[in-house]
Symmetry: C2
Subunit: 305 residues, 2 copies
DNA sequence: CCTTGTCCATGCGAAGATGCATAGCAGCCC
DNA sequence: GGGCTGCTATGCATCTTCGCATGGACAAGG
C-alpha cells in the first residue's frame, strides 16, 4: 500500500506549472508552453490549492484563470524559481570549460540593435558552438535573479556578488540630418529649438527626468515615443532633432550634431556578470568580448570627434 | 501511445533531488531528506546526467556521490532554486493578510542570542499564530536569493530591490568584569592592555581587519575565538577584556567599560526586507517589530551611559 | 441565430514513476 | 577475520499520474 505522506512541501513541478499559468493566463496555454495537457495543468493547480493554507489561487472563468491576491503574492518567488531553472539549463547546455553553449545577455534596446550585432557576430565566428540569447529591455533585468548571465548596464552595479568592469562612457547629444537643418534657420541657442521638430519621450518618466536635468526648459516634442530605436530612426529619416548616442550618430555621415557645446550628457557603460559564472569558460569569453567590443565602440567615437 | 518529448528542459523535480544530493552528499541521505527512496533519487540523477550535455555530475563511490566540476558549476543555481522554493512555501504558509504563518529572519549570532529573543517573544505573544525561523550566521545571507525574509544588517544595503530602514547604531567598546579589573593594575592607556588577558578573534579576517582599524597595535590575544558569543561569555566569566556591544554589556552590572574614550566603534543597524514582501501582512508586522525593538535596544544604552 | 473558437471539468485506460526487496561493495571496530 | 553499517545498483510489482476523448460554457463574428 502506497501511503504517500501528503504533508511536506509541494513538488517543484507544481510550482513550475503555477508559474506557467501566471505567465500565460490560462491552463490550456500554460500546458502548451510546458508540453503538458490542459487536464494535468488543471490538476496541478488544484493540488496546490488543496495543499496551501492560503485559499484559492485562481478564479476560473471561461477565458482563463485570473490570479487571486494570494497568487499575486506568490508570483515573484515563482518567477525567481523559474529564472534559476532557466539559468540551470543554460549553464548545463555545455561543459563548463568549452567555448560552446548558451549565453544570455541583457542590454538596452538601442545597444542590442545598434551595437551588439557586430560584436556577437565576431564572437560567433570565432566560436561557432556558442549561441546567444538577447534580453533587450530598458528596465534593467536582475542579474542576481539570473534573468541573464551577462548585462550591459548604464550604471555602476553596487552588489558585491557581481563582477563588473567599466568600459568608459557614451556621450549623448542632439543630432539631426544635414538636409533637415538646411531647410530651417540655424540653431545657435537653446531657445531656437522651440521652433524646431524635436523628438522626445512620451511617458517614460525616468528618461524624461534625466533629459530634464540637462535641459531644464524643454520645448514640447513634435514626436513622442518611449521607443528609443524609433527616436533614432526618426532622426535618421530627417524628422527633426533628437537625442542620439554619439558613437551611433557618428556612423551616419548625414547626421550632424546640434548645440554640441550646450547640451551634453554621458552614460557610463559597465559590463556585468554574476560571480558564480566566472568559472564557466563561455561566460568568460563573452564577458571579455563585450568589454573589448564596447570599449572599441565607445572609443571609436571619441576619436572621430 | 505515450510519445513523451524527451527534449526540453528537465523536470524541476530532478533539480530538487540534484540540490538535495549536493547538500547531503549521498543518494540515500538525499532521499531521506526528501521523503523519497534511494533508487528514485538515483534514477533522478541518472536522468539528469543523460539529458545534460555536460557529462557526469557525480562520481559514485561507496561512501556517497562526489560532485564533479560540472555539478559544482551548477550548484549555486540549484541553491537559488531551492531558496526560492522555500520562500514559496513560507509565503504560502498563511493568507497574505493574516498575522499568521512563518517568517524567516537572518541576523548575526550575537543579535540572535542576545537581542532577538525578547523582541520575538513579545511579537509572538501578540500574534500567537506567527512562527519564526532564525538564520543566525555572520556571513550575511542573501535576501535577494530569498534565504530569509527579513534581515538585521550591519551595513547599509545597496540594492534597490530591498526595503531598508536605519535604526541607529550600536556602540562597541572594551569591557571586563569589575572583579577582574580589581585584581590587576588600573588601565589608563592602550599600552597597559599588553599586560592583560585580551579576548579576540582567531582567523576571522573581516573582524580582525575592522578591529585593527580602531586598534592599530593590537596585543596578542589571550583567548582567540571567532565565535562572538563565546567572547561575550568569556568576558562575563571574568576571563579578561573583550569587545562587547554596549547595549549588551550595560545590562550586566558587573561589566565595566575599559578605555571608553580611547577606543570606540559604531555598527550601523539596518532592518531589511525584500520589496516583494511588502504586501504580506506578517512581514510588515515583523519588520515594524524589529525596527521598534532594535531601536529600543540601541536607544536604551544611549540613555544609560 | 447559428457557427466557431476558446476555455475548463471529468472519466477512463495506459505509460511511467515509485517503492520494496535484494545483491554487491567498501570501510570500521572489536 | 567476522560482523556491522554505510553506500549504490538492479529487478519487479504496484500505484500514481498522465494523456486522450468528451462534454459544457462562454464570447466573438458572420
Amino acid at each position: 500500500m502506497h501511503l504517500r505522506m501528503d504533508k511536506g512541501s509541494p513538488g517543484w513541478e507544481l510550482w513550475r506549472t503555477f508559474d506557467a499559468v501566471l505567465r500565460e493566463g490560462s491552463l490550456s496555454s500554460a500546458a502548451r508552453a510546458l508540453g503538458l495537457t490542459q487536464p494535468t495543468a488543471g490538476r496541478h493547480i488544484a493540488e496546490l490549492e488543496a495543499r496551501l493554507s492560503t485559499g484559492a489561487l485562481f478564479t476560473r472563468s471561461a477565458r482563463g484563470l485570473q490570479p487571486t491576491e494570494a497568487a499575486r503574492v506568490l508570483a515573484p518567488h515563482a518567477a525567481t524559481m523559474a529564472a534559476a531553472a532557466a539559468a540551470l539549463v543554460r549553464t548545463a547546455s555545455a561543459p563548463a570549460d568549452a567555448a560552446a553553449g548558451v549565453v544570455r545577455i541583457s542590454a538596452s534596446e538601442v545597444i542590442g540593435a545598434e551595437v551588439l550585432p557586430p560584436i556577437v557576430t565576431a564572437l560567433h565566428a570565432a566560436h561557432p558552438a556558442l549561441t546567444f540569447e538577447l534580453l533587450l529591455t530598458n528596465a534593467s533585468s536582475d542579474l542576481l535573479r539570473r534573468d541573464a548571465d551577462l548585462a550591459i548596464r548604464m550604471t555602476q552595479p553596487r552588489q558585491q556578488a557581481l563582477l563588473a568592469k567599466s568600459v568608459g562612457s557614451i556621450r549623448l547629444g542632439f543630432y539631426a540630418r544635414r538636409d533637415y537643418l538646411a531647410r530651417f534657420p540655424p540653431i545657435e541657442s537653446a531657445a531656437d529649438l522651440a521652433r524646431h521638430a524635436v523628438i522626445g519621450f512620451d511617458r517614460d518618466v525616468t528618461s524624461l527626468r534625466s533629459i530634464n536635468a540637462v535641459w531644464p526648459d524643454l520645448p514640447s516634442f513634435a514626436l513622442r515615443t518611449d521607443n528609443q530605436l524609433a527616436q533614432i530612426a526618426a532622426v535618421r529619416a530627417g524628422f527633426g532633432i533628437g537625442v542620439v548616442q554619439e558613437p551611433i550618430a557618428s556612423r551616419d555621415s548625414a547626421l550632424v550634431p546640434v548645440l554640441r557645446d550646450t547640451f551634453t550628457a554621458h552614460l557610463p557603460i559597465w559590463i556585468v556578470m554574476h560571480e558564480d559564472l566566472r568559472s564557466t569558460h563561455r561566460m568568460r569569453i563573452t564577458f571579455d568580448a563585450l568589454v573589448e567590443g564596447m570599449a572599441a565602440h565607445v572609443g571609436a567615437s571619441a576619436l572621430q570627434h
